[in-house]
Amino acid sequence: MTAGNLSNLFVYATILILLLALITYSVALGDSDKARKNENIGTAFTWLAFGILLVAVVLRGISSQRAPWGNMYEFAITSSLAILGAYLFVSLKKEIKYLGVFVVLPSLLLLGLAVTVLYTEAGPLVPALRSGWLVVHVSAAIISYGAFSVNFALSVLVLLRGRFKFSRVPATERLDELAYRTALFAFPIWTFSVIAGAIWAENAWGRYWGWDPKETWAFITWLIYAAYLHARVTRGWSGKKAAAIALTAYVSIVFNFFGVNLWITGLHSYAGV
């Protein structure tokens, strides 16, 4: 069995374990009696899924002998890893296990799409991507996507909080504060990723900024998160309004990944689908 095949097997295993995590987290969200116990089980599953997916991503890198984010499939599985990683990292320091469903669900969806629609066999890179900047630019983007996903999950909870009866979900202010902190962490990394992309574009295409659809949407995402960070310090804009801005920003990330890669032709056409 090759490293590539083993990687695929591990991705499928991750999907199975994440399904279990999703179920236990969902039960915890609705039932307050055993919530803590179920949350802990869900988190254990999530850790397991994270570990196996990490191995899958590394194996994928080994089988293609390069950073494992050269096409949309690889980008999707690595992003999924980053989402889980960001959530687990925060959960080590803060009590956020109530967030489980809202983090596991997007990474599960992403993995599902990766294996069904986006799948590409491992192979070497097209010349345009062969540059040290690939590692810097794309890894920064993926890390910030992970953190922005946690911000998204928290913002969803801010908006849903009043409407549904969730057990163990803290007050809006607390969610809001945590969401702000994750965005605070992600925003500079995203900024860095855009700058690194511009430097690479200058080297590869002869211009640092050309309003290529991918660039444009990265810029739009940046603007909306900038607005979000400003909203937090503006009177009367925290809470639901801020959460709505955060959601809009996340939609722009998702569109940049799926919409721009699959529907719009531009210079960033490396989907390999």
């Binding site: 192979g123 010349p127 900024t191 080297n203 002869g206 640092y208 309003w211 444009t216």
Partner: protein, 500 residues
């Protein structure tokens, strides 16, 4: 009545001031940020002239009426349109109006003495009292040594220490850098030039405006500023994936150039991601294709055409289209060609290429005669043959080396196949400034977001024979964790110096 009075008092300058205050408010900045994002969207969906004129023309042909409306709105040049510019200029004004007063305040905060501690610290954040042999003057020195700004009160009974001014400095630096980047981009756009060239193997390019296929320059660009150089495309190598995975994906493009600068000749290899750099001008390898060599002789045996003709690739397997126009012969001849590097005849799709390299080079030609319209003075697209007024006089499939006799006695020979490479050549004096601006923005962002501005107060609460009782408490608007770390740190430092 009072309202009337206020209205009168507002007056013209009052209104200006009101507008200014609205424009520079955070809420306005917020809306402008979101609005700018919204305004950027159409440019990512509709084809843009700056990126691809061809795709804009395709849109025009497909939807003529819609094109007119969109064009009036500037939707094909979104990022140069008045409304897009208006939003970002307003945003920049709002930004400047916001940070200028903040710079003044920050400068004042940095130069003015800091405030004295409140009388009672007990109700303040993190209050604790310690017994120590140190007095406030010693603690003051301790703090100063560790980069705190300090102030002992006039009566000598309290001490204030402050840190984290870098937060506001970083914040301001970030916003100034954003303004700076915007100016650098505008500056670059005024003086820059960029163009594309298509170079067949062994052909030479000299850096003059006329040699470009497509040339754009900023409003203040001067031709004299173009560096004097030329290069010959000595060799162009391409390699494609032949394995079962991603078959046909490009694996290697290597262009070997013989470059000539005044008083200097050298060889240079140019690959994707590694441009040729001469005096701030960069030449990037952006694409490639095939140029079949075609030789045409007329009915008397005279050679009327013998040249490599670039055929433009239409798909990933380099199914390519090209045109040959021969206006000078006795009879004007035009050839419409289709070149397939690895040609097959598909039952449904007709002749197509199934691999991008030359495994089975094939060409299909149709020959046309009549008035090519090249003497009419109207500029013509060299990649297009308008066949409406022409008469077709033949159709043939040729492999390299094949000859084809037309019914009028002309002979077309498909001699061989050369490769061509396309280059983008660009110069932008603003880019280095935009780069410096980005580095400053990044640095400002890190300080502005992650430095905590905090203040610690110490007050002498009792004097013993050998021990003083000192109360400590602090204040911060940001991270209370940082503040409590600092309080712990300070107490530890005090204990350490006691032992010395």
């Amino acid at each position: 009545m009072t309202e009337n009075n206020i209205q009168i008092k507002l007056g013209f300058s009052g209104w200006l001031r009101w507008i200014w205050r609205q424009l520079t408010s955070m809420t306005t900045a917020l809306w402008l940020l979101l609005l700018l994002g919204l305004a950027a969207i159409p440019g990512s969906i509709l084809p843009q002239r700056s990126a691809s004129l061809i795709r804009v023309n395709d849109f025009k042909e497909a939807n003529p009426t819609l094109f007119e409306i969109y064009d009036q709105l500037g939707l094909f040049e979104v990022y140069g349109s008045f409304w897009f510019s208006a939003i970002y200029i307003l945003l920049m004004i709002s930004l400047a109006g916001c940070i200028v007063p903040r710079i003044k305040i920050h400068a004042k905060n940095l130069t003015e003495p800091i405030q004295e501690a409140p009388i009672n610290l007990v109700n303040q954040t993190g209050y604790q009292a310690i017994e120590t042999s140190l007095d406030l003057a010693k603690i003051n020195k301790l703090a100063q040594k560790n980069w705190w700004r300090t102030k002992i009160s006039a009566d000598g009974n309290s001490l204030t220490i402050e840190k984290g001014y870098l937060r506001e400095s970083g914040n301001l630096l970030f916003h100034i850098a954003i303004l700076f980047i915007t100016i650098a981009v505008a500056f670059g756009a005024l003086f820059n030039y960029r163009g594309t060239i298509l170079l067949i193997e062994k052909d030479e390019f000299a850096n003059t405006v006329t040699q470009y296929d497509d040339f754009r320059a900023g409003g203040l660009f001067r031709v004299e500023r173009m560096p004097n150089f030329s290069f010959v495309l000595e060799d162009f190598e391409v390699e494609f994936e032949r394995g079962p995975n991603q078959t046909g994906s490009p694996r290697e493009f290597i262009a070997e150039l013989a470059v000539t600068e005044p008083g200097l000749d050298y060889q240079q290899t140019v690959v994707v991601n590694k441009p040729l750099v001469i005096d701030g001008t960069k030449a990037f390898l952006t694409g490639h294709g095939y140029a079949p060599v075609i030789k045409v002789t007329d009915d008397t045996g005279r050679v009327v055409f013998d040249k490599a003709v670039p055929f433009l690739p239409q798909d990933a397997n380099f199914t390519s289209n090209g045109v040959v126009k021969i206006p000078d012969a006795n009879e004007q001849i035009g050839l419409l060609g289709l070149f397939l590097p690895t040609g097959v005849l598909d039952e449904e799709l007709g002749p197509i290429s199934i691999f991008p390299d030359q495994d089975n080079p094939l060409a299909f030609f149709s020959a046309w005669t009549g008035d090519l319209g090249m003497d009419s003075g109207i500029p013509q697209n060299v990649y297009r043959l308008e066949t409406e007024n022409l008469e077709q006089i033949g159709l043939a499939q040729l492999a390299p080396g094949d000859r084809w006799e037309l019914e009028n006695g002309y002979q077309v020979e498909f001699v061989s196949v050369k490769r061509f490479a396309s280059f983008q050549i660009a110069y932008d004096p603003g880019r280095i400034w935009a780069f410096i601006g980005s580095i400053l923005a990044m640095a400002g962002l890190m300080f502005g977001l992650f430095v905590t501005r905090r203040r610690i107060w110490l007050r002498l609460e009792g004097i013993g024979s050998s021990q003083n009782k000192i109360g400590l408490a602090g204040l911060t608007k940001q991270s209370e964790e940082q503040l409590s770390r600092d309080l712990t740190w300070l107490v530890k430092k005090i204990r350490e110096s006691e032992q010395r």
